[in-house]
């Protein structure tokens, strides 16, 4: 199938066994319900593999899976989520070489730069793993109200978050938008970079062996302009990260998606004017964008 298999079989006579890339929905690896794929090429237009051509129905299934997973994931202890995120880092580290190859091919990088991107991704998962049980202390706290009440605020996960992954940075960019969403207890429906989806689809396999409960992250590949409007308008999606959306006017522009998101008051994280340098210190911003402050009052008296 591939004209340029990512890991060539070498000169020996053995024929390489190529990977069939699949979607990741509800902890399973289905093909697209469309039964279709699209050809993924490298930066020099050489075909790397086929990717599933995800559709609105795949997105719909992914939202159902994400919603189903939300109760358990948001109800897990922060420590537990931290361990799971750390496990993702471990599994990614173990496949460091493979991902360097994926990223190099997808982004047209040299081996060193690609390895650096993989290492940065691993480190980012570790960084977010450490955040899970700290954000509530940093972003929440006790509020000294004028009365005999205990009053405290905590950041709570928003719910099901649709994520349009960055178009350029296929693994580090993906990690940088997915990790903050799930660190706080949200579940995610991610649309991979349309042009460079293979590292993301391979990364789903890492998730599959990382103790991440099925449905917490769901990953689709396919035409963003076709899938994104359905996610933006979906009434059971609580928020959307437009990192990978187009600023251009037209179908699935940032403006269109914001308008579509209005119907159920989705929280919208707008993209920057151009794709940022993902190696910079992320800060807690992306986590806070998908949390809701809940404040509890309780009288204090005997």
């Amino acid at each position: 199938m591939s004209k340029e298999p990512m890991r060539a079989a070498g000169s020996s006579a053995r024929l390489a066994v190529n990977k069939t890339y699949k979607l990741y929905i509800g902890g399973k690896f289905p093909r697209s319900e469309s039964g279709r794929v699209y050809a993924v090429t490298d930066t020099k237009d050489r075909q790397l593999a086929n990717a599933p051509r995800g559709t609105r129905k795949d997105a719909r299934d992914a939202v159902v899976a994400a919603r189903k997973a939300f109760g358990g994931w948001s109800g897990a202890t922060a420590f537990n989520r931290g361990q799971v995120l750390y496990r993702i880092a471990e599994m990614l580290e173990a496949r460091r070489e493979e991902f360097a190859g994926e990223v190099a091919a997808a982004e047209g990088l040299g081996r060193n730069k690609a390895l650096a991107a993989v290492d940065a991704s691993v480190d980012r998962w570790v960084w977010y793993a450490g955040w899970t049980d700290k954000l509530a202390q940093v972003a929440g706290g006790a509020n000294p109200v004028a009365g005999p009440y205990a009053n405290w605020s905590t950041p709570e996960p928003t719910g099901v978050v649709a994520v349009l992954a960055p178009q350029k940075s296929s693994l580090l960019g993906l990690t940088s938008v997915v990790a903050p969403v799930i660190a706080t207890g949200n579940t995610a429906v991610v649309v991979a970079s349309e042009r460079a989806p293979l590292p993301a689809l391979a990364f789903a396999e890492v998730l599959g062996v990382s103790d991440v409960p099925g449905g917490v992250v769901n990953l689709l590949s396919g035409p963003v302009a076709e899938i994104a409007p359905w996610l933006a308008a979906h009434q059971d999606v609580n928020a959307i990260d437009l990192a990978g959306a187009s600023h251009n006017t037209g179908v699935a522009s940032v403006r269109d998606l914001e308008i579509a998101a209005a119907d159920n008051l989705k929280r919208v994280l707008r993209p920057e004017a151009k794709e940022p340098d993902w190696t910079a210190d992320p800060g807690p911003h992306r986590m806070l964008a998908f949390t809701e402050t809940r404040t509890v009052w309780h009288p204090s008296g005997n």
Binding site: G147, P148, P299, G301, N302
Partner: protein, 316 residues
Amino acid sequence: MLSAFPADPAEVTSSEAALSRFLHGLPGIDKVGAESRAAMLGTRSIKKDAKAFAIDLAISMIDLTTLEGADTPGKVRALCAKALHPDPSAPDAPRPAAICVYPDLVGIAKEALGKAPVNVASVATAFPSGRAALDIKLADVAQAVQAGADEIDMVIDRGAFLSGRYQQVFDEIVAVKAACGSAHLKVILETGELSTYDNVRRASWLAMLAGADFIKTSTGKVGTNATLPVTLIMMEAVRDFRAATGRQIGVKPAGGIRTTKDAIKYLVLVNETAGPDWLTPDWFRLGASSLLNDLLMQRQKLATGRYSGPDYVTVD
């Protein structure tokens, strides 16, 4: 009202365990909520006719009290004279409901009041601490009743209550009630020593189950006397007790109620908690002494349109 209340009250008083189960099964009280409800009722603004009505009603509900070690027959006679003629300049001023004295002065008060419709109430049962053997308490009651007391204000054994010996408290009230004969029994809970509103509610029910005619907040001899929230809890108790048993019990906040404004807050609280059925001296009393003169001065202000002063009411 209280859905957990059994058809026969005797069921919950059959044993210490049953009593304890029942009292601890009463709905809890949220302190902050109760206090904010009482505070809100305290913002009611009672003016004009309503104020005149409230002042006369409050005067008629007073248990005019002197409970000092230094009390003498002369002091008690003067207080009785005050009860008979609260405001010499206004013969239409109502009389207080009762004179409240120590047992040894009941005879003096009875004599001074004659046949006037002012009751004599006597504290008893080793007032104010309640720390004496039961037979001594009963003798205390018997002496007051014999001397002609119409009402007995007993104190509960707070030590027994706080250590969970509810049966002992219950039995004591039953015994005192029996010793009262035809005299009405007010049971002083000494809420300032019970500390929590949950305890106030439990003690209220315990006293009512044991036969109290009135439940009363305080002796006036401890740091915290009557408060609006405590009275709120007690009004809820008598309201619920009547709904459960059909028997109406009176309430008497005592101690620390000094101004007309305070007294009116209590009347508003009665009105909006248990309802106007309790707005009569038969069912609500104010244990006080200096309050009477403040009410009389306010009464004079309403009559004349100018503020009165302490030289225009009698000090007894």
